[in-house]
């Protein structure tokens, strides 16, 4: 029972995190491709409560930045111009959940642009890009996992249920795919497909490639479950009653795979988000100007950026809370699965 609580806790935490990313338009003050050519490589702005004269303000404020004379990217705060932050401001229009048009944003300042995490070489707000990039990376992880699981489920079910030569062939192929170093395969597959595609097509290509490489392990696991499930008494009985294969699969066998699929999902989603990040980082993923957590990091490969603009590193840590959530979810699912199995076997072990 303790495990139920752990599972729900992690689920809620993940839900909140995903919710923030889903409502990126609301939480982000600016759009992901809005350039501000006068402010390239601005460091993160500090939010102040106490002004230059030592007065405390309830409403936090920021200072606008001024370029230091004779330099290109050295800024200093202009202490003469405090700009108070306002909450629930109206700004650029976006679509909440992709459907509802809205102009409401969590925060913003009156005259200056607020750069919570600094800006990049085109003056785009890194915080906004982080949120919108999360949408792209997480969605890629989800859809990729979905694709891999669906493919794995179908192939594993067919192999496990029908057995015989189908099983042999499919499992040999699966072993082949499992034997290949999957990162290399991912790259090779992606790079051999046309590179000059639009962001949407690139996105779907990535998902397709991930699915094409990642179906093997789920397929093996599903096959194992199906193999044991089809020998169960109630399945035999149903068959005796004249149930068709499809009915058996749909009604009795496949539901048994749900726990394995769920656990696999919790493990694979973060893995595939990482895969998308790696692909985009190396230029084989989502192209500019669409942000993704991977391509937000890609200009860190330039020496000048590494040395001078440390805040460009921050998107690398954005995924950490998500990984934590998925890790917790996966372990609570595994523990729950084990506890469930033990209860079933009736061994009554002290946990």
């Amino acid at each position: 029972m303790k495990n139920w609580h752990a599972f729900t806790r992690w689920l809620i935490a993940l839900g909140v995190l995903h919710g923030i990313v889903l409502c990126a338009g609301f939480f982000a003050p600016y759009g992901p491709s809005e350039q501000d050519r006068k402010s390239p490589y601005l460091p993160p702005m500090r939010v102040h409560f106490v002004d230059g004269q030592g007065h405390f303000h309830l409403r936090p404020f920021v200072y606008s930045f001024r370029l230091r004379d004779g330099s290109f990217d050295q800024y200093e705060e202009d202490a003469a111009k405090p700009d108070p932050l306002r909450f629930f401001v109206s700004g650029w229009r976006y679509r909440l959940f992709g459907l509802l048009p809205s102009g409401l944003h969590l925060f913003g300042a009156e005259t200056t642009r607020v750069y919570l995490l600094g800006s990049d070489g085109y003056g785009r707000d890194q915080f906004s890009r982080l949120l919108f990039g999360g949408q792209v990376s997480l969605l890629a992880g989800f859809l990729g996992t979905g694709f891999a699981l669906v493919a794995g489920l179908s192939i594993g079910a067919v192999a496990g249920y029908y057995g015989g030569w189908r099983d042999d062939v499919l499992m040999r192929v699966a072993e082949l795919f499992l034997a290949l170093p999957w990162l290399y395969l991912l790259f090779a597959l992606r790079a051999f497909l046309p590179l000059a595609v639009g962001p949407l097509q690139a996105f779907f290509l990535i998902i397709a490639v991930i699915g094409a490489v990642g179906w093997a392990r789920p397929a093996r696991l599903v096959r194992a479950v199906v193999l044991s499930a089809k020998e169960r008494d109630f399945v035999r009985a149903a068959r005796g009653f004249g149930a068709t294969d499809i009915y058996l699969l749909r009604r009795h066998v496949l539901p048994e795979t749900s726990s394995v699929l769920l656990t696999q999902a919790a493990i694979l989603i973060p893995q595939y988000v990482m895969a998308e990040m790696t692909l985009s980082f190396l230029g084989l993923g989502v192209p500019e100007p669409v942000p993704s957590w991977g391509n937000l990091l890609s200009n860190l490969q330039q020496y000048s950026v590494l040395v001078s603009y440390w805040w460009m590193y921050l998107p690398a840590l954005a995924i950490v809370p998500f990984f934590l959530g998925y890790l917790g979810l996966a372990s609570s699912l595994q523990e729950r699965g084990e506890a469930y199995k033990i209860e079933r076997r009736g061994l009554g072990r002290l946990t």
Binding site: F72, D73, R93, G121, Y122, A196, G283, Y303, S304
Partner: protein, 599 residues
């Protein structure tokens, strides 16, 4: 015994004849034609005197493919070959004017068709063999031989016919041109003189292209440059040593080069170059990007960074104006209809924020350009050309005139449509290894978004990019840059001429596709054979005007030449012409006596 007077006299006559003969033999002019060791005629270079000894380390972005000037196509090979070879007449990179090199003097005939060059005497190749007119004849024979496919061949075709050369005597050669050539003796710059004694046999066997590789060059090649090959470690470095037979000296008569060794390190990319320089592993750095330059300037520990001013590189955006092949899709045809509309291109040019490009891609170390002549070329730019400021209104007006319109989307963003109602969308290719051009493309993308165009930037590996643009012609638009190798319009002739290979928007045409291209062809041909600078400039100005009106290339910006060297490197004077830092490598020296390649 008394010898008869006659006999006595004839004896003395014989003796004096003998003596005369011996003296005659000892005369230098006679001796040179008989002995192999003549007094060398060294070229004395003015400038700061330096210390002999020491080593210079240069980090090269990548490995040279070959040391054979006949097949070297990439810039790295050219950079290394430049310090190993010498030419007849050389363009001084600092003054941008010609100077005597292997030829100590030259004369142009009054009709401009004959160039008589006199070689320096007593010069030897890096393997000790003497240089003579035969080598020059052989060199040009090889360059002009069609079976060799030397890239230099195109440079030697004047007036449609190849230049011919004949030997007058051991030291003098005469070049015969079919038409007068405005460029004059500049054409000899960079044409390395090849050693006949080593290359004649491979040439006759047709194996010239196979020799001169990095592994074998030490034995198969000899040059006249300040350095010769010493050692090659694949994937890591190339070590050159001082050529003891180099024919230049300083004003005190010390034979150049000062340096004992020149080491080229191979690094994978520009950032690695910066790392090596910053850590002190390499001694000079050139072709720096502005961002790396700022980083290095901020630190300045033990080295000095120099901004040599505007260079000769020009970056531009161009559209695919090739005639559509039979395989062209209807989509491609539709796009090309937009591209072919002059007002479309002019609108794009008006919408581009050149100032932002200079600021964000070059950190201010560059200049916005509106024409092909880069600001580093002070003599040839057309001052009367307009430099219109960025104006989105003007751009929109032009598009409206051309029949485009805007439709408003549900979220308030407007899309540009052509007369048939199709949205204007296309992709811009750029090289994935060039961060500056990628930035330019991204800025242009955003600029054009304000006009309602949906543009996508596609970074490609450079070779694939080149293949797409020049061979398969499968692209919409592209951002590229060209660096002229000389401050003379002729160096860009293949960009100007419709038949040229770098006439990028529609290369290698059989005959000009448009009347204005035909007009440009005519102007360029005419200025090639014009005799005076003023004549050439007038024609060249008119050609620039046409280009500015028709905008087949939308010019963006030109970066400054940025370089740096350790404080201990003497005579460091970066130039805006290639090779920016090593152009005076024979005069570079290490200052302190304890320096030996480390900081």
């Amino acid at each position: 015994m008394r010898i008869s007077r006659a006999k006595f006299q004839s004896f003395w006559m014989l003796l004096s004849l003998l003596l005369l003969f011996v003296v005659f033999l000892g005369h230098p002019a006679i001796a040179s034609s008989q002995q192999r060791d003549t007094k060398e005629e060294l070229l004395a270079l003015p400038g700061e005197l330096g210390r002999s000894g020491g080593r210079l380390v240069v980090a090269l972005r990548g490995e040279p493919k070959t040391l054979n000037p006949l097949i070297a196509a990439d810039s790295r090979s050219r950079e290394v070959i430049a310090v190993m070879q010498a030419d007849l007449v050389h363009i001084n990179r600092a003054t941008q004017l010609t100077e005597p090199a292997l030829a100590k003097s030259w004369k142009i005939s009054p009709d401009g068709l004959q160039y008589t060059l006199v070689l320096r005497q007593g010069i030897k190749f890096s393997d000790g063999q003497p240089l003579g007119a035969d080598d020059v004849i052989f060199t040009f024979q090889v360059y002009l031989d069609e079976n060799v496919h030397a890239p230099q061949r195109d440079l030697l075709i004047v007036g449609g016919k190849p230049i011919t050369v004949r030997k007058v005597d051991g030291q003098t050669v005469v070049f015969q041109l079919a038409k007068t050539y405005g460029v004059g003796e500049r054409l000899f710059d960079g044409l390395a003189i090849l050693p006949k004694h080593l290359l004649e046999k491979p040439y006759q066997e047709g194996k010239l292209a196979q020799i001169g590789t990095l592994e074998t060059a030490a034995k198969q090649w000899a040059g006249l440059g300040p350095f010769r090959m010493k050692e090659y470690v694949a994937g890591q470095r190339l070590i050159l040593e001082r050529n003891p037979y180099y024919w230049k000296a300083d004003t005190q008569g010390n034979r150049l080069p000062y340096l004992d060794e020149l080491v080229f390190l191979f690094v994978p990319n520009a950032d690695a170059q910066v790392l090596k320089f910053e850590s002190g592993e390499s001694d000079v750095i050139s072709q720096l990007g502005a961002e790396n330059f700022s980083v290095l300037s901020r630190q300045q520990k033990g080295y000095v960074m120099t901004d040599a001013g505007p260079g000769l590189e020009y970056n531009f955006l161009f559209f695919n104006l090739n005639a559509p092949g039979e395989k062209a899709s209807s989509e491609m045809r539709r796009k090309q209809e937009w591209f072919r509309e002059v007002k479309f291109r002019q609108a794009v040019s008006n919408a581009v924020d050149r100032e932002a490009i200079v600021r964000l891609a070059y950190q201010g170390r560059g200049t916005a350009i509106w024409g092909l002549v880069a600001p580093g070329n002070r003599r040839w730019g057309n001052e009367k050309l307009a430099h219109p400021a960025r104006s989105l209104d003007r751009a929109r007006a032009l598009l409206r005139e051309a029949g485009f319109s805007w439709s408003n989307g549900p979220d308030g963003e407007s899309t540009l449509q052509d007369a048939q109602g199709k949205p204007v969308e296309f992709s811009i290719l750029t090289s994935s290894s060039n961060a500056d051009r990628a930035k330019m493309a991204a800025l242009i993308q955003d600029d054009l978004k304000q006009l309602g165009m949906r543009v996508q930037v596609v970074p490609l590996e450079f070779r694939s990019l080149l293949d797409r643009v020049t061979q398969s012609k499968e692209y919409d638009a592209c951002v590229m840059g060209i660096a002229s190798f000389d401050a003379d319009p002729n160096s860009d002739i293949n960009v100007w001429l419709s038949s040229g290979g770098t006439h990028l928007w529609n290369p290698s045409q059989a005959y000009p596709a448009t009347p204005w291209e035909a007009e440009i062809d005519r102007l360029i041909e005419e200025q090639m054979s014009a005799r005076t600078f003023e004549q050439r400039k007038k024609l060249y100005d008119r050609a620039q005007e046409i280009l500015s009106e028709k905008q087949p290339m939308i010019f963006l910006a030109s970066p400054d030449i940025l370089a740096g060297a350790k404080n201990s490197v003497g005579n460091f004077h970066p130039a805006v012409l290639e090779p920016y830092v090593l152009w005076n490598v024979e005069q570079l020296y290490r200052k302190s006596a304890t320096e030996n390649g480390t900081r």
